[in-house]
């Protein structure tokens, strides 16, 4: 019971406070003018193109990074699973990007792609016939590319370790049996290995999707939300901290919270089905 009370206080109170705040219009610099506006903050959010642009950016960066990380993470996990050299050393090497704090890795990638001084442009210019100093942060798609690259570089190791744990659960006798029956390497992978590690894949996808959906650091560092690259988290930051519009910021926070809740529910449901199938 005490644990439940603590959980309600720690988790429930801030959420309820945010929901309550979202029904008011007021600024931190002018709290006397706090007034009840009902659902207006939600209405303003849903009818503003800035909100949908942030939603688009958030979904896009989530889909791109999670898919690429899943594929790359699986390849790395497979290599680590099969490789002869000590796994501990490999795991340490693989975890280096993940252990670097996002602010540092974000700035590293920012400097790498910076116009004028970034080494990426300097490399490109060495190529024959190219004399361009490309402005990577001057447009939406190129900014998205660098932001996604930074996210993928940093988080793929996390994905690979989760998948490696899944690979360890695969029954090797089934693999052997399939090979004896004449199955190719690809067939073994698709028919035996992947179905056996569904649960691990689901857990990895759940964690990374939720994480990616709340992307903030890399965008804040690299573009500050320019060129329509604001994510939902960036939008919340701008309304709440920059503008001190507590009501609007709270409404957006509640929307983000609900989005995350829906994503989690979908994954948890899928996860349960897999477990049931596994048991059956």
């Amino acid at each position: 019971m005490p644990a439940f009370v603590v959980m309600v206080l720690v988790t429930g109170y801030p959420i309820l406070q945010a929901v309550w705040n979202s029904f008011f219009a007021y600024r931190l610099t002018d709290p006397e003018n706090r007034r009840f506006v009902g659902l207006n903050n939600y209405l303003v959010s849903f009818t503003d193109e800035v909100f949908w642009s942030a939603m688009w950016m958030t979904v896009l960066v989530t889909v791109i990074t999670v898919i690429v990380e899943l594929v790359l993470g699986f390849i790395i996990a497979l290599v680590m699973h099969r490789i002869v050299i000590p796994r501990k050393t490999l795991r340490t090497l693989v975890l280096i990007p993940y252990s670097i704090i996002t602010v540092v890795s974000g700035f590293t990638w920012l400097y790498a792609f910076q116009t004028g001084t970034g080494f990426v442009n300097q490399w490109i210019q060495w190529m024959p016939g190219i004399d361009a100093n490309y402005n990577w942060f001057g447009g939406f798609w190129s900014s998205l590319f660098v932001i996604s690259l930074s996210e993928i570089w940093k988080t793929t190791p996390f994905m690979s370790l989760l998948l490696l744990a899944g690979l360890a659960q695969v029954d090797s006798s089934m693999e052997e049996a399939a090979k004896v029956d004449g199955a190719s390497w690809l067939q073994v992978l698709i028919k035996v290995i992947l179905p056996s590690m569904k649960a691990a894949v689901m857990v990895a996808l759940l964690f990374r999707t939720l994480d990616a959906f709340r992307i903030f650091d890399n965008i804040f560092i690299m573009t500050g939300g320019a060129n329509e690259t604001s994510s939902l988290s960036m939008l919340i930051y701008r309304q709440t901290i920059d503008r001190t519009e507590i009501g609007l910021g709270s409404a957006l926070s509640v929307i983000l919270f609900l989005c995350v809740l829906v994503i989690a529910a979908v994954f948890v449901k899928a996860f349960k089905v897999d477990l049931a199938e596994g048991r059956g």
């Binding site: 610099t29 207006n40 303003v44 503003d48 503008r243 957006l252």
Partner: protein, 449 residues
């Protein structure tokens, strides 16, 4: 640091407001405040009233002999002969981040803030919110006599003086004399933006400007509009819903046309939409740009970098937006404010008087390269020797055009930056109108920013 101790002269009304703010600030920003409370450094001293001065980073850093605000804190402490000691805390780098940190502390009536170094554009917002103490009557003349008038304008809100100008910044047109001469520009006469762009095109060189989506871009846009005789905010002091804008005017459109022309002529560099003061200086220093609009700190930076063409460096007044119409150079700098929730307001104002004295401003200008707000400093022989462009700075400051005086400055600036970014998308026929529509909607609470 968020305790509240009411002073005797505070009314219950103010007390209620503070309590409300404290609660709101705590509810809204607990996590951020916890994270940021670990930031900053400081010095400590003992004796007399203990004052804490929140300073913006400058060339002196936290070195008490570095020539910056840290040095002034020590010198004024020594001069007070035990009446007060000035401790300092460092604010973040950018003006926006400085505002955020101060705002959070002030909103929660943090008595750990006594004196603040404030970007002039935020004086109105802080004063309107009741965060700044009014300047006492007996200090007013010390803080305003001999100060360049636009810096005093920025220190006022609602007909009251809320801050003391400390240093005042302005931009000059920096250029390579040989290139300007070859381009046929007569730099003895006022230069227009059109002439500058044509010259850069002709000489196949670039112009360093600040057009990234940040405050520096707003500085440029404001200077262009002020240069036409128009103002971004036409009725300073009005409430959000009643604010009138001068963007979609003849002047506003002419200003936008300059940005469009510079972008179309491709003389702003390959990354015009990502340029700031530092990248502009890089362009100029590396000889990619023969012209640059920037603050006076660049002189010391170029000297420090020992550029080979220092003899070719020249400067003149900010370019005209419209030929024949006097330019309005940008105004920046720092104003000194005292927290209305401070328990040591009297000592704080005494300390501000010392910090903003002619002697201190001279020390600061020599130590950091940041121009003094007091006109008398520019007559000093040491200053004349260290800053050959001193007279140009003084006259530019006197004629400068402040950015909009409004308590909604943050929204106004962010909204304009958003619509005018990237510079290549600016169209005089549509951009100013779109910016005004957005600002009206934002200030009515009908749009996000």
């Amino acid at each position: 640091m968020t305790r509240h101790v009411a002073s005797a002269d505070e009314g219950s009304d103010v007390e209620t407001r503070r309590r409300g703010r404290a609660a709101l600030a705590a509810a809204a920003t607990t996590a951020v405040a916890l994270g940021l409370s670990a930031c900053g450094g400081g010095s400590s001293a003992s004796g007399g009233t203990q004052l804490t001065w929140w300073i913006n980073p400058d060339g002196g850093g936290s070195d008490p002999e570095g020539g910056g605000q840290a040095q002034l804190a020590k010198e004024c402490t020594d001069k007070s002969e035990g009446a007060y000691t000035i401790d300092f805390q460092m604010l973040p780098n950018s003006a926006s981040d400085q505002r955020q940190q101060l705002l959070r502390r002030l909103a929660s009536s943090d008595t750990g803030v006594d004196i603040m170094s404030i970007d002039p554009v935020f004086v109105a917002e802080f004063a309107e919110a009741g965060f700044l103490a009014k300047v006492p009557e007996d200090k007013k003349s010390a803080f305003t006599d001999g100060i360049v008038p636009p810096a005093v304008t920025n220190a006022r809100w609602d007909d009251q003086l809320y801050a003391a100008p400390f240093w005042a910044n302005t931009q000059l047109l920096w250029y390579r004399e040989s290139v300007a001469e070859e381009a046929g520009l007569d730099m003895e006469e006022p230069i227009t933006w059109d002439q500058l762009i044509e010259a850069a095109k002709k000489m196949d060189t670039e112009i360093g400007v600040q057009a990234s989506r940040y405050e520096g871009y707003m500085v440029w846009i404001n200077a262009l509009i002020e240069g036409t005789g128009a103002q971004i905010v036409q009725n300073p002091g009005a409430s959000g819903e009643d604010l009138k804008f001068g963007l979609d005017t003849e002047g506003g459109r002419k200003a936008a046309a300059v940005i469009q022309k510079l972008a179309d002529a491709n003389v702003g560099g390959p990354a015009l939409g990502s340029t700031n003061e530092t990248t502009s200086l890089d362009m100029f220093q590396n000889e990619r740009a023969a012209f640059m609009l920037n603050w006076p700190y660049v002189y010391a930076a170029l000297k420090g970098a020992e550029v080979k063409w220092m003899d070719d460096l020249a400067w003149t007044r900010y370019p005209q937006t419209i030929e024949g119409e006097e330019s309005k150079p940008p105004l920046g700098g720092i104003e000194m404010g005292v927290n209305s929730a401070s328990d040591n307001k009297e000592a704080a104002w005494d300390a501000v008087e010392c910090i903003t004295s002619v002697e201190s401003q001279k020390t600061y200008m020599l130590g950091t390269g940041n121009p003094a707000a007091h006109t008398k400093v520019y007559d000093d022989p040491e200053i004349r020797e260290a800053f050959p462009m001193a007279e140009q700075i003084r006259s530019s400051l006197a004629d400068s055009g402040p950015r909009p005086l409004t308590q909604y400055y943050g929204d106004v600036s962010s909204g304009i930056q958003r619509v005018y970014s990237p510079p290549g998308s600016v169209d005089p026929e549509t951009t100013p109108e779109r910016a005004e529509s957005l600002l009206h909607a934002v200030l009515k609470g009908d749009a996000l920013l």
